[in-house]
C-alpha cells in the first residue's frame, strides 16, 4: 500500500508570488515524516502540493516533479481527482461533513468510487473506525451526526474517513492544533499505529510532537517575509533534534526564533 514520494525541483505559486522555492526531498514509505518551521514558511503549502490540493486555491500553481513511486503527479494526463484518492489528507480543523452521520462520513469516499454491498460497506466502516481508534466510542451512535462528536473524536473521524479509501499516503496538516492535550495524545498514538500501513507526512508547529511521532523531520524556513520558503534540511528526527547540520535549524529548535 504505502508508496515512496520523491520530490524534485518543486516551486509553488500564489498568483505571481513564489511561495516555496526549489524543494527536493524523499519521503520514505511506512514512516512518519514531520515538517517543522516558523509560520508562513510554506510547509502547509508544500504539503498541499503532494495531493494537488494547492491548485484548488485561487491562483495556486505548481511546477516541478512529485513522483509517487514511478508516476509523476504533475505529469501530463494525470487526473488530480485520482491523485487525491491515492493521497489522503487530514486538515488542521476537524471537518466532518456536517449533514452526514458518523457512518456516512466514513463511507463518503467509498460511495464516490462505485457501489458496495451493505455488508461490505459495514465492514469497511467498522475497520476504518477501529483503525482510527474511534470504534468503541461511536459504535452505538453511527447514525448520529458527525458534528455532534467532540473535537478530538471529530478529528479521528476525519482520519477514519481518509483511511477508508485505502490511500497510499496520508497527509496531515497540523492535525492536533485545534485539540486539547488528551485528544492530541490519542491522535499521536494513532499516528504511530497508522505508519505500519501508510506513508505519513505531518505538518506541525509543535516540536515536541515532531520529536515524539516522526522518524524523519524536515525543517523549512524563509529568509524574510515576502521571500519564498525553502527546505533547509531533512534528516533522521533524532539527528535534527540533537545535532542538526545547519545552524538555522538548531536556532529554531532551541527556540532562538520562530
Amino acid at each position: 500500500m504505502a508508496k515512496r514520494i520523491d520530490v524534485s525541483g518543486l516551486n509553488a505559486y500564489y498568483g505571481s508570488f513564489l511561495a516555496i522555492e526549489d524543494i527536493s526531498m524523499t519521503v520514505e514509505p511506512r514512516s512518519v515524516t514531520a515538517f517543522i518551521g516558523p509560520s508562513g514558511c510554506g510547509k502547509s503549502t508544500f504539503l498541499r502540493t503532494l495531493n494537488r490540493m494547492h491548485e484548488v486555491t485561487p491562483g495556486g500553481r505548481v511546477d516541478g516533479k512529485v513522483m509517487l513511486d514511478d508516476e509523476n503527479l504533475y505529469g501530463p494526463g494525470i487526473d488530480p481527482v485520482a491523485v487525491r484518492r491515492e493521497v489522503g489528507m487530514v486538515f488542521q480543523r476537524p471537518n466532518p461533513f456536517p449533514t452526514m452521520s458518523v457512518y456516512d462520513n466514513v463511507a463518503a469516499g467509498l460511495r464516490l468510487n462505485g457501489r458496495y454491498k451493505k455488508s461490505e460497506m459495514d465492514d469497511v466502516v467498522e475497520k476504518s473506525l477501529k483503525g482510527a481508534n474511534l470504534w468503541n466510542e461511536v459504535k452505538d451512535r453511527l447514525n448520529k451526526p458527525g458534528s455532534g462528536l467532540s473535537g478530538g473524536q471529530q478529528q479521528r473521524l476525519c482520519i477514519a474517513r481518509a483511511i477508508a479509501v485505502e490511500p497510499n499516503v496520508l497527509l496531515m496538516d497540523e492535525p492536533c492544533s485545534a485539540l486539547d492535550p488528551i485528544s492530541t495524545l490519542a491522535i499521536e498514538d494513532l499516528i504511530g499505529e497508522l505508519k505500519e500501513r501508510f506513508t505519513i507526512v505531518i505538518v506541525t508547529h509543535n516540536m515536541q510532537q515532531a520529536a515524539r511521532v516522526s522518524d524523519r523531520t524536515a525543517f523549512f524556513n524563509l529568509a524574510a517575509v515576502g521571500q519564498p520558503g525553502k527546505l533547509i534540511e531533512i534528516d533522521e528526527t533524532e539527528r535534527i533534534f540533537s545535532n542538526p547540520s545547519v545552524q538555522a535549524t538548531e536556532d529554531y529548535i532551541s527556540g532562538r526564533f520562530g
Binding site: M53, P58, M89, N95, A108
Partner: protein
C-alpha cells in the same frame, strides 16, 4: 483606527473610573439617552403598528364587501360586485395565482440554483463577479419594463413553443392551444420566472459562498470531482438557503402586478389548458379592475387583496423561519 481621527469632537477626557464606564454602558440614564432610546424604540413599535394597521384596515374594508357578497367568497367563479345582488369570489384568482407561480418556480428555481453555482463554483473569478453584478442590476429592473418586454418580445416568441406543445402534448389537455395570442397563464409563468430569477440567484449565491472552505476541501481530498464536491458539501449546506430563497421568489411571483396585468389576457374563468386564455391573478385583477370599479367593487378588490396579503405573509414567514433555523444550526457547528 481611523475612526478616532474622524471624531475630533470627543474631548480628551481623563480616564473614567470603572463605575462611570459601567453607568455609561448601561445607557438610558441621561435625558439625551432617554429621548434617543424612546425615538428608536418608537420606530420599531411603529413598524409593528403599521403591520397591524395593514391587516386591520384591509380586514375592515374586506368585511364590508364580504358581508354583502351573495356568492361564496372562496368558491364562486363570478366577479360581479356591482351587480344586484353583488356576487363575487376568488376561486379563479386563486387558481391563476397558484398555477402561474408554480410554473414560475418550476422554471426559475433550477436555473437560479444553476446560475448561483456557476457564479460561485464554475465561472472564472472575474467573470463570476461580473455576472453577479449584472444579476444584481437586473433585480432592479422595474416590473413595468418586464411587462412591456413581455408583451412585445416574449409573447410573439412563444407562438412557436405553444404550437409545438399543442402538437406533441396537446392530448393531455393541459397543453391544448386553440391558437389565440400566447397571453395565457403559461406565458405569465415564464415571465414571472425571468423576473424572480435574480432574487433566487442572489440569495442562493450568498448561501453557497458561505459554505466553509474546509467542507469543500474535505470532499476534494477524498478524491471527489467538482460535481461530487457540490453534491457532498455545497448542496447539503445550502439546502435550507435554497428553500428560503425559493420562497422569497415565490412571494414576489404571487404578488407581481403590472407585468402580469400587461401580459395576461384575463378571463374570469378557469381553463384546463395553460395555453389558452383563462384565469387571472389576485394582483393582476386588482390592477385591471380598479379603474372602473364601483365603491362596492373597490371593497371587493380589497377583500381579494387581503387574501393575497395573508398568503404572502405565510410564504414569507415560512421562508424567514427556515433561514433563522439554519443560522442556529450552522452556528452550533461553527
Amino acid at each position: 483606527m481611523d475612526i478616532s481621527t474622524q471624531n475630533p469632537t470627543s474631548p480628551p477626557t481623563p480616564q473614567p473610573t470603572e463605575a462611570e464606564a459601567k453607568r455609561a454602558a448601561r445607557g438610558a440614564t441621561r435625558p439625551g439617552d432617554r429621548i434617543f432610546v424612546g425615538l428608536s424604540r418608537g420606530s420599531g413599535i411603529f413598524v409593528l403598528v403599521l403591520m397591524g394597521a395593514i391587516a386591520a384596515f384591509l380586514t375592515y374594508r374586506a368585511s364590508i364587501a364580504i358581508s354583502k357578497d351573495e356568492a361564496n367568497f372562496f368558491t364562486s367563479f363570478d366577479w360581479n360586485p356591482a351587480g344586484v345582488p353583488p356576487e363575487f369570489g376568488i376561486a379563479v384568482l386563486a387558481f391563476g395565482t397558484v398555477v402561474s407561480s408554480i410554473i414560475a418556480m418550476a422554471i426559475a428555481v433550477p436555473i437560479a440554483v444553476g446560475i448561483a453555482l456557476f457564479i460561485t463554483h464554475y465561472a472564472p473569478r472575474k467573470l463570476g463577479g461580473t455576472i453577479a453584478f449584472v444579476v444584481d442590476l437586473l433585480a432592479a429592473v422595474p416590473s413595468i419594463v418586464y411587462g412591456l418586454w413581455g408583451v412585445l418580445v416574449l409573447v410573439p416568441h412563444l407562438n412557436g413553443l405553444y404550437g409545438w406543445l399543442d402538437t406533441y402534448l396537446g392530448w393531455t389537455g393541459v397543453f391544448e392551444w386553440s391558437g389565440g395570442p400566447a397571453r395565457s397563464l403559461l406565458a405569465v409563468g415564464i415571465l414571472l420566472a425571468i423576473m424572480i430569477l435574480p432574487i433566487i440567484t442572489n440569495v442562493s449565491r450568498e448561501v453557497f459562498r458561505q459554505v466553509p472552505r474546509m467542507h469543500e476541501e474535505a470532499a476534494l481530498a477524498l478524491g471527489a470531482t467538482r460535481w461530487e464536491v457540490i453534491r457532498m458539501s455545497v448542496l447539503p449546506f445550502g439546502r435550507s438557503g435554497i428553500i428560503s430563497a425559493s420562497m422569497l421568489g415565490l412571494g414576489r411571483a404571487l404578488g407581481e402586478t403590472m407585468a402580469v396585468a400587461m401580459v395576461l389576457s384575463p378571463t374570469f374563468d378557469i381553463n384546463a389548458s395553460l395555453l389558452d386564455a383563462g384565469g387571472g391573478t389576485f394582483a393582476q385583477n386588482i390592477a385591471s379592475k380598479f379603474n372602473e370599479a364601483s365603491p362596492m367593487g373597490r371593497d371587493a378588490l380589497i377583500a381579494s387583496g387581503l387574501v393575497l396579503f395573508v398568503i404572502t405573509l405565510l410564504v414569507n414567514g415560512a421562508a424567514r423561519m427556515i433561514i433563522s433555523r439554519r443560522k442556529e444550526y450552522s452556528g452550533a457547528n461553527a
